[in-house]
């Protein structure tokens, strides 16, 4: 499929990335090229193939429900760009 600037802007919106006009143009061309290469995967018939999500077959990893120490609020907040008392502080969400 052909990648258009509108597709790029839509995907950027989903990814929460603001892009300038120049980035939209270069990403349109690059994604078009890379996805055209990826079309190669369609040469193979995979209808009967089971997908692999993980190389090592994994079952649910259960463990005992035992409490153990975790970070203090102070430590957990030590890298926060903004905090207030024991909370992360974010820009206003509800007007």
């Amino acid at each position: 499929m052909k990648i258009t600037p509108e597709t790029v802007s839509h995907v950027a919106d989903l990814a929460r990335l603001s892009l300038d006009q120049e980035e939209v143009e270069s990403l349109t061309a690059e994604m078009d090229l890379i996805l055209a290469y990826v079309e190669k995967l369609n040469e193979l018939d995979t209808d009967a193939i089971t997908p692999t999500a993980h190389a090592v077959p994994l079952e649910n990893a259960f463990r005992c429900d035992q409490p153990s120490p975790s970070f203090s609020a102070e430590k957990a907040l030590s890298n926060a760009p903004d905090s207030n008392e024991d909370c992360f502080r974010v820009p206003r969400v509800i007007e």
Binding site: S18, Y37, L41, L44, H54, V56, N79
Partner: protein, 484 residues
Amino acid sequence: METTGLTIHEMRDLLDTGKISAAELTGSFLRRIHELDTRINAFIRVTKEQAEEAARRADRRIREGNSTLLTGIPLALKDIFVTEGIETTCASNILKGFVPPYDGTVVRRLREQDAVFLGKLNMDEFAMGSSNENSAFGPVRNPWDETRVSGGSSGGSAAAVAACMAAGSLGTDTGGSIRQPASHCGVVGLKPTYGRVSRYGVIAYASSLDQVGPLARDVEDCSLLLQAVAGYDPHDSTSVSLPVPDYRGSLKNGVKGMRIGCPKEYFIDGLDADVIASIRTALDRYRHLGAEIVDITLPHTDYAVACYYVIATAEASSNLARYDGIRFGQRIDDGGGLIEMYRNTRARGFGAEVKRRIMLGTFALSSGYYDAYYLKAQKIRTLIREDFAAAFDQVDAVLTPVAPTPAFLLGEKMDDPLQMYLSDIFTIPVNLAGTCAISLPCGFSAEGLPIGMQLIGKPFAEETILRAAWAFEQEAGIRKGPPL
């Protein structure tokens, strides 16, 4: 005596017999970094004071007769490993100023041995790249030729070891990020089987592919470093609780009767003539050592790069959603509300390649395209995994080139992302299959650049490929350092 050029096992003997102290050894490395790294740019941060303090602790332990294999050995870590109290950036502007409140498991295991950390190493931002040119701290230059790339993404890890600015290092490998820079810088690099080493405290790129591994100056050092970090970790539920064998103990058992596969799909158009010649010579050496060379086929090799760039970018787009300017890292808030804050923080915090991969991955997972791209790629991944399973019914290991060419020039592929992606064509299939592989020097190009070969092993058969690599290294005797 130039101690910085020794191997870890040679340093161990000098430390334990009191011929040198950990403090002296650490001092030599710190001086070497100070002299050379303005040229190479392998380090993002040198932790001089912490290193000197760790060396003093190591010296006490050695005097008490309680040293372990890595006590007092000066190592350095890719800046993807979370280190308590030491800024960890993943070579990204978005994490500048991030000082982790904890150590990752592998870091903790090395600290428990009183290994010395010299600092944090340069890399491609979030481990996305094959040349170390995608770093917010500038590219790493190849110690063999400073106009060329170190390889990536663990470029700092490979260059620091090659230039004797660290005795050994740890990197991570998602599509070749340990093996390719090791090859380009003339050192040994091992990507263990997925699940062999804990990923707890390793900043995630593509979680079903990422794996931690060592880079070192010889195969024996590589085995020592793997020994130190391998094993189950309750903090990483994808780590595997198989016993960890004594890797060093079986190094010298030889390759007599070993069956080594040579896949025809790896001898592609565009493969450098010097690389082909080095691989052919390596195959001859193995025959001479008593191994049997078997022609094999890995029929879906040609689909691996396309498959990888769907799966890895999809996982990356999900993993990197956490960089939202709230809990850690940079925040750019122009007062436009929460969503605008996310968009601006990410726009200014991420570099071009990271944005490109987030975009590709978001696209592949988006409504209407999931089946055509992501699910399709997961099915192709099954075929690639089955290729290896079938090959390992016939052989004990597979020998291939690591990269199609020796180290390319800085800037050579930066305008062409697809060409850059294709330079990982021989390393990516191993990550998709989840198995282990080692990269080690096997020759030099006409211009004197190192060439690496790759030995791929069965899942959890690191012992076999280390043994085969050690036998070759002894026979070939080509270990030498760059002309610095």
